[in-house]
């Protein structure tokens, strides 16, 4: 079950493979975002935004999607109970107010907005949620994201999806109930502090049963195959080329939506997108590292955002006995200069990381960022110390040299980074030889999952706003922990934290303790960097944001100034 906590963490490496596909991510509320509403800035008459996405929308059928473009745009055209604001805090959307939460923090009662309407004029009711959620967990639907309901700890979700459980497939046992047309009650298996923030997610959107059934397989494949209750409607969709959103005037908060129209162009090649930006066809574009130098001095246009994706090296103790030695693991970790890596190789706002839970990602009950307890993480670059540890490790193991295989994807960025890492280790640890094994995506995954590597470059992106999504990966039996790492103390801390949902501060402290143990004492993995993304945005566009969690791009409250 633990593995199901993994939420949507997708292997970050996927990002590399589909280079720009996931890069549109960023900071919360953005210190560098375009939020500066310069006093008496006048709105342009034509509130139309033109942006690019490196990926097409595969589908808008909420049970079938599994990529960030689909889920982002489904969140624009459909509204769930909650929506994240620009600080990534959950705010009532289809819910009329924050829910009533029972004393044991396991029952949430939501009052729905009475004025909320689907685009066919019918009201959005509690039954629309019950139907959509049951459909998601139904094994017959075979949704690639059904497990997210178990991750949210919604009552019986895990059992309904488990073949061996007597509740398998019994979707009416899911902990969601319509008390009346406008009251929805959700029951959880245990208190879950991040539950409300998950409800903004596309997989928790309501759907109208009669409409969905009428559409059948066509659901979400064309604009007319969807009902809308969100801030925008999808009015045009040229598969492969792009799509157009238009403001939904019936949306309850329409007065805070300024954009009348958003045109999204599918452009897979970043240099093409940059050329289109330069020729005035686009108001904003992502920038790959090749274009950073070209834009970095245009202060009014250049913005970087921190993403929540964290890259690291798996240290495989199962295949490479030398990596069972903690001194060797530490030596490898300390031999890599991450600042060089992010400043010279990547240049896109990525930051060196000696931690696994990213910066500016999750705020604790005290309102502080998780990272503020240890901003720089643990065991950073220190070549001298690394050499000492390596000498010590060699003696303990009785070896003179060490050959390591570093598993890498065959994309240029990935290869570049891994060649650099190999070079750093060899340079700082005499006697270590690192060969980089470059593999295409499918094979890379296969070799990684079957443990056929010594060092494996990989990464993780979260889908719920909580450090646990990064921490429980390293428990003894987790599917992602294929490198033979096991520390009973760590397992215990994670389990304790997991059951402390009713006491958020204590839970938070346990998670801090767990991360420290994992990286400072155990050095289970070698963290590398927290991903960043760079964007060029025209100065007249205000409020365009690239959140590090939830959506690829946030233009909900964006506006175009006179220019």
């Amino acid at each position: 079950m633990r593995r199901n906590k993994a939420k949507w963490p997708i292997l970050l490496s996927l990002i590399l493979v589909m280079s720009m596909l996931l890069t549109a991510c960023s900071s919360k509320g953005g210190s560098t975002s375009t939020s500066g509403s310069g006093g008496n800035d006048q709105l342009a008459d034509n509130q139309v935004l033109n942006i690019a996405d490196s990926s097409d929308i595969p589908s808008l059928n909420w049970t079938q999607i599994s990529d960030s473009t689909s889920s982002t745009y489904l969140q624009y055209v459909t509204s769930g109970l909650m929506r994240l604001n620009d600080k990534l805090e959950p705010q009532p959307d289809m819910a009329a107010s924050m829910p009533e939460i029972s004393k044991d923090k396991k029952t949430y009662t939501f009052k729905l907005r009475k004025d909320a309407k689907w685009s066919d004029g019918s009201p959005v009711t509690a039954n629309d949620f019950v139907y959509a959620w049951r459909k998601m967990v139904d094994p017959k639907t075979a949704s690639p994201y059904s497990f997210i309901f178990a991750s949210a700890n919604i009552k019986n979700a895990a059992k309904i999806e488990n073949k061996k459980d007597p509740l398998f497939g019994k979707i009416d046992q899911l902990g969601v109930k319509a008390l009346n047309d406008h009251t929805l009650q959700v029951t959880l298996d245990k208190p879950t502090p991040y539950f409300l923030s998950m409800l903004a997610n596309a997989y928790f959107m309501p759907q109208k049963q009669s409409f969905v059934e009428k559409q059948g397989d066509k659901l979400g494949q064309e604009p007319q195959n969807l009902l809308y209750n969100g801030p925008f409607k999808l009015t045009k969709w040229d598969h492969g080329s792009g799509w157009t959103l238009e403001k939904n005037n019936d949306y309850w908060d329409a007065k805070h939506v300024y954009l009348k129209q958003v045109n999204v162009h599918v452009i897979k090649d970043n240099s093409t997108a940059v050329n289109m930006y330069n020729s005035g066809k686009l108001d904003a574009t992502g920038l790959s590292s090749d274009f950073i130098d070209q834009f970095k001095n245009k202060k009014d246009q250049f913005h970087t955002f921190k993403d929540a994706g964290v890259f690291f090296l798996y240290l495989n103790q199962k295949r490479q006995p030398a990596l069972k030695n903690v001194n060797v693991r530490k030596a490898i970790n300390m031999s890599i200069d991450r600042n060089q890596m992010v400043n010279v190789l990547l240049k896109d706002g990525s930051v060196a990381a000696n931690y696994i839970v990213p910066k500016e990602f999750a705020k604790g009950p005290d309102g502080k960022d998780f990272r503020s307890a240890a901003p720089n993480g643990y065991n950073g670059y220190n070549p001298k110390e690394a050499q000492k540890l390596w000498e010590k490790g060699k003696k303990e193991l009785g070896i003179k040299s060490l050959k390591l295989e570093l598993m890498s994807q065959d994309t240029s960025t990935s290869a570049k980074i891994n060649e650099y890492i190999a070079n750093q280790i060899e340079k700082n640890l005499p006697g270590v030889k690192v060969t980089v094994n470059k593999q295409p995506w499918g094979n890379y995954l296969k070799l990684l999952n079957s443990g056929k590597y010594d060092l494996g470059n990989s990464g993780w992106i979260p889908d719920y706003d909580d450090p646990m999504t990064y921490l429980d990966l390293w428990t003894t039996n987790n599917q992602q922990n294929n490198m033979g790492f096991s520390d009973p103390k760590f397992d215990k801390l994670i389990e304790e934290a997991d059951n402390l949902g009713a006491d958020p501060q204590k839970r938070w402290d346990k998670m801090h303790e767990a991360e420290k143990l994992l990286l400072e004492k155990d050095q289970a993995i070698a963290p590398l960097f927290q991903e960043g993304t760079a964007h060029a945005i025209r100065p007249y566009v205000k409020g365009l944001n690239y959140p590090n969690f939830g959506m690829r791009v946030d233009f909900l409250h964006a506006k175009i100034l006179k220019h």
């Binding site: 593995r3 199901n4 993994a6 939420k7 949507w8 963490p9 997708i10 292997l11 996927l14 493979v17 097409d56 595969p58 589908s59 059928n61 079938q64 999607i65 599994s66 990529d67 689909s70 094994p139 075979a142 690639p144 994201y145 059904s146 497990f147 999806e161 488990n162 073949k163 397989d217 979400g220 494949q221 040229d238 598969h239 492969g240 080329s241 162009h265 599918v266 452009i267 897979k268 090649d269 240099s271 093409t272 997108a273 050329n275 289109m276 330069n278 020729s279 066809k281 295409p440 995506w441 499918g442 094979n443 995954l445 296969k446 999952n449 599917q479 992602q480």
Partner: protein
């Protein structure tokens, strides 16, 4: 001619079936699953999904099912597009790639033939050298370099044409031009060689001796003969264009089939891999078939040989 056609057509079908079978079988060797988020799916979830998509059946059964559906015109549902029919996706994207490829081929062939004639007739002059240099550049520089240069100078710097996208006729010019460079070069080179050879052959000397005027010799006798080998290379050139368009479509953000082909392999989108392969091989086989026929029409000796065999 009838028998020749029938024979060619038979080969065509056999080739096609072999390609389908081989692709289907080798595709099974691709590591991984077609599920985008496979990394976090548990083995039980993968099992449930495999069952839904029929991927838990033996390969032989899957193959027979597939061929059966294919003959009915059903190429399955794409995984990348979360369940859209492959035929629908191909229907959308194929005309785009087809238009672009045809434009590039026709434009390239015409310009190439013209340059080749010029070079051949003005053998060892400035024109010849100019055309030869152009041909060498066109062959040795890959089309995506041209694409990048044209995009930057013509579209971004001068702003004469759109940077990319597929809205109207003006969007066709730069990508078609980039794709046609290698066609121009190859055709020009062939045409030049043929022209020089034909112009030096006995029957041209005879024609000249008979006092036929120069224009008539060039148009009626030289060009018609010289153009035959050019037609034979149009087949391979069309193949070049198809492979070249994989990159060109990406550079100009054109929603064609090229990019789909690569992505489908990377993502294990089995029905899409099959769909694009079938499309490509059908196109290539058809092109070769057409070239064969054209060859027969232009050079009657081939048709006769085929007929008498």
């Amino acid at each position: 001619m009838g028998r020749y056609l029938l024979q060619r057509f038979g080969y065509m079908l056999v080739t096609f079936f072999v390609i389908v079978a081989l692709t289907f079988l080798t595709m099974q060797l691709l590591p991984g699953t077609p599920y985008r988020n496979q990394q976090k799916l548990s083995p039980e979830q993968i099992e449930i999904m495999n069952h839904k998509y029929g991927l838990d059946k033996p390969v032989a059964v899957q193959f027979v099912d597939y061929v059966g559906n294919m003959l009915k015109g059903d190429l399955g549902l794409s995984f990348q597009y979360d369940g859209r029919p492959v035929t629908e996706i191909l229907k959308e994207k194929l005309p785009v790639s087809g238009t672009l490829g045809t434009e590039a081929l026709i434009f390239g062939a015409i310009v190439g033939v013209f340059l080749g004639i010029l070079a051949g007739l003005k053998h060892n002059t400035f024109w010849d050298y100019g055309a030869s240099i152009l041909a060498i550049l066109g062959i040795s520089i890959p089309s995506f370099i041209f694409a990048g240069l044209l995009q930057y100078w013509i579209a971004v710097k001068l702003g004469w044409l759109p940077v990319g996208y597929w809205d109207g006729p003006q969007n066709h010019i730069l990508p078609a031009l980039s794709l046609s460079m290698s066609v121009i070069a190859t055709v020009a080179r062939f045409m030049r060689t043929e022209m020089i050879e034909v112009m030096g052959s006995d029957y041209i000397t005879t024609a000249k001796a008979k006092g036929i005027n120069n224009t008539s010799i060039i148009v009626k006798h030289s060009i018609r003969n010289a153009v035959i080998p050019v037609i034979t290379i149009l087949g391979p050139l069309a193949v070049n264009i198809i492979t070249g368009s994989l990159v060109i479509e990406q550079i100009f953000a054109i929603p064609g089939i090229g990019e789909q082909f690569v992505t489908s392999i990377v993502t294990n989108d089995y029905p899409m891999i099959m769909g694009t392969t079938i499309m490509y091989s059908a196109m290539l086989i058809l092109i070769i078939f057409i070239v064969d026929i054209l060859y027969g029409i232009i050079d009657p000796r081939i048709r006769l040989a085929g007929g008498e065999a």
